[in-house]
Point group: C2
Chain length 451, copies 2
């Protein structure tokens, strides 16, 4: 009988994270101060992040030790399994071998705890009492709520208003773990009050929610801020995914020709791919690395590579990244986690330096593949993850045409059990795609400062 | 670093199910024909179930081989992990060691696929094209939808009307796997039309839904019926849980003094406990085996042990079991899967013969423990499972009082990610308990036939 699942023993859980920064052919451009536009150092960000995380953010070490306390927490769901998608392969009649890494299994239902846990830990270590953050669809807010509880920290989440109204159960999940979740914009911050004055039912945006969370952190010395994607230390933490997957592919006796991750801010993509990019750079492997984004938020495929703010309120440092402009408001597609205007500087550098490829798909095509996946491999994936599934399906179809027995590995970043509204729309034929006119991107980019 | 998780390698997945029937000190009383009240044989049930399952239902073999096709499907999530609940123990300051078996990890989110998969398989083997079933809260309907898809069978689910209206996402999940889900009562059956004529918005009941599914199966030769609990072959399939757990406890170097499962129809309870009852019977072990039910449906703790129907419509055979009467309508507690009037004949015999204990708790007490569990062990459990968690917590508290370092194992039968409404009510202080007056039980039992 064929083995569908490749488990890694607990003893094989990585004890170091992989930092790609020092291995990049050209070094990363530094973050700039939002006011002075000069490169910033750890001290500039110390009011917001603990030094332990800032040291990782700026580190030039290739390997950074995972503390025992973090590995103990990871044991709840790590190492996660890798699966061979035999049933999907059969349905596609493809000679390709398709593997997926199963981050779905964490208590929060996605890869997000991989960074939420160490972020909570390093905050705790420095005496922080509370962490504030924003959340869009709710995956990140859930993961941080859970992680804060593990280390006895308070957690305050600003949830984008429209999601807060539409997804009450994400809020309940955060509250079950003991967090406080506010509808954003809220009357607890200056920026929140400003937007509420304009419209008492303001739908909110990720940009506003970030600024609210930052305001809360800056106002109170024992409170820090946490971000679930984009930053270097977040990418770092997520590399446990790819490091485990590499060992599991070895157990399977194969090496991937293609590695795929969906792309919003970049964290799950970095997690699965950075260790394989390292092999390309160090060992002469030629694995294709594909980032998959929605056509409704095509940061990597249609945005320029330039300095921009991480938030609408222009409070964050300027980061060099592929961006659609910090004022960009994507269409309300179901993959809420992929609706971000920017992209992780590390992933952006990889694209700029030709280490990765990027593709974009419409959401209905992604749901086609997600439903095919559910009906072959049984797992119901998150709308974000459906983009990775679809890219894997497309690669497998190409392999059928060419007869090439290629090995595909994708990251199953999260489950869709709290996002079944999208499946309902798809199954009832009501799901729509959004064409994004170039003028809309141009208009948004016009507001990005020249640096 | 302590190991929180005890994994079992894929190669250690059980290759046989355990049948407790031949090991019972007193043999099981036979099912009786609903009309003649005479013992029935496989041929009487052949229009409804395939012979492969009926052979298991009546088997006197202790061990029944698990087909390779079923083990291949089980690989998606089996062997499931066992966890040591270190964080819960700390919070309770107990000398007890608490372990839990993690059935949450299946694609359907509960232990139900353990029997859905072999049921679909044995139907497929005999040329069946479609399976009909009922579902209450939706766990069973989801699991069977998924399993039918695996073997290319159609699946038609009658979902209790009030749940269908309140839980649209359970329906979407079934549809994602390709099943058809009807609101019950429906206009597709005689009994459905009868109840709809009384009330076009009839809220439905499990009893009505069972009768509808049976009608559909009886009317079409290529359609069979499937039940997710109560029957002997269902208990049999679930024993993979306990068989794996026994090996995992051995790996942990401990043996449970107490084994706990929540109790509705009895299937997850049987799954975790029957292999340990076997050890009590064969090897002189003295493990206490505890079935935990809600005070709102106290079948084992307040019902008599007598023959009764499995459905309101009196279409099923009469089964000897603890029962509250086939017309009993439990209060609308959140643990929908525990709202059944009867109980598995095998589990009932175990209670009658003194092999197990039964306790009942109110739902708010169970949510107290479920929230404590979420805030220590991170997993958000199903409302049904919260009963097992609470019993484990109570046992651990007793151990603290007595100073006894007892080993507790409970079955984490499913996740609560699609049942967060109950947590919301609990967290906002709106959850209510239901006292069940004796007259209500007496009245319901008065309609049970004397046999």
């Amino acid at each position: 009988m064929s083995s569908r699942r490749i488990d890694l023993p607990l003893s094989e859980m990585p004890d170091k994270w992989y930092n790609i920064a020092p291995d990049l052919p050209r070094p990363l451009d530094p973050p700039l101060h939002p006011g002075t536009r000069q490169p910033i150092g750890p001290e500039d960000m110390a009011p917001i992040f603990p030094m332990g995380l800032l040291a990782q953010e700026m580190s030039s070490e290739s390997w950074i030790e995972i503390p025992d306390e973090v590995r103990y927490a990871y044991q709840l769901y790590r190492p996660t399994p890798v699966y061979r998608a035999f049933e999907l392969e059969k349905a596609l009649d493809t000679p390709a071998h398709i593997y997926y890494k199963h981050e779905y299994v964490s208590p929060a239902g996605s890869h997000k705890p991989n960074t939420a846990i160490p972020q909570a830990y390093f905050n705790k270590l420095e005496g922080v009492k509370k962490i504030s953050t924003e959340t869009g669809a709710g995956q990140w807010g859930s993961a941080l709520s859970m992680a804060c509880r593990m280390f006895g920290l308070e957690c305050e989440v600003f949830m984008v208003g429209v999601s807060y109204d539409q997804k009450p159960y994400r809020r309940v999940l955060m509250e079950t773990w003991g967090a406080t979740c506010h509808r954003s914009p809220s009357n607890l911050t200056n920026i929140g009050r400003r937007f509420l004055a304009e419209d008492p039912n303001h739908p909110g945006s990720l940009g506003i929610a970030i600024t609210e969370a930052l305001e809360v952190a800056v106002a109170d010395e024992s409170t820090k801020y946490s971000l679930g994607s984009v930053l270097n230390h977040v990418m770092l933490h997520q590399t446990v995914i790819g490091l485990e997957a590499m060992k599991q592919m070895e157990l399977a006796g194969e090496y991937p020709d293609v590695v795929i991750g969906c792309f919003g801010g970049g964290s799950n993509f970095a997690g699965i791919s950075f260790p394989f990019i390292r092999e390309n750079l160090k060992s002469g492997k030629k694995t294709r690395i594909i980032a998959v984004e929605p056509k409704a938020a095509p940061t990597l495929t249609r945005g320029p590579y330039r300095y921009d703010f991480g938030d609408t309120g222009q409070m964050t440092p300027l980061l060099r990244m592929f961006t659609l402009g910090h004022g960009f408001v994507p269409a309300p597609i179901h993959a809420g986690g992929l609706r971000y205007h920017g992209s992780a500087p590390l992933a952006s550098a990889c694209l700029d330096q030709g280490l990765i490829e990027a593709v974009s798909y419409h959401q209905t095509a992604c749901y086609d593949s997600a439903v095919l996946f559910a009906r072959t491999e049984s797992w119901v994936v998150a709308p974000e993850t459906s983009h990775a599934v679809h890219a894997a399906v497309e690669e497998a179809r190409k392999a059928r045409e060419t007869g090439e027995p290629k090995v595909i590995l994708f990251n199953l970043s999260g489950h869709g059990i709290l996002d079944l509204a999208g499946y309902e729309k798809y199954l009832s034929g009501q799901l729509e795609d959004y064409e994004l006119p170039q003028e809309e991107i141009d208009k948004s980019l016009a507001a990005v400062p020249e640096v």
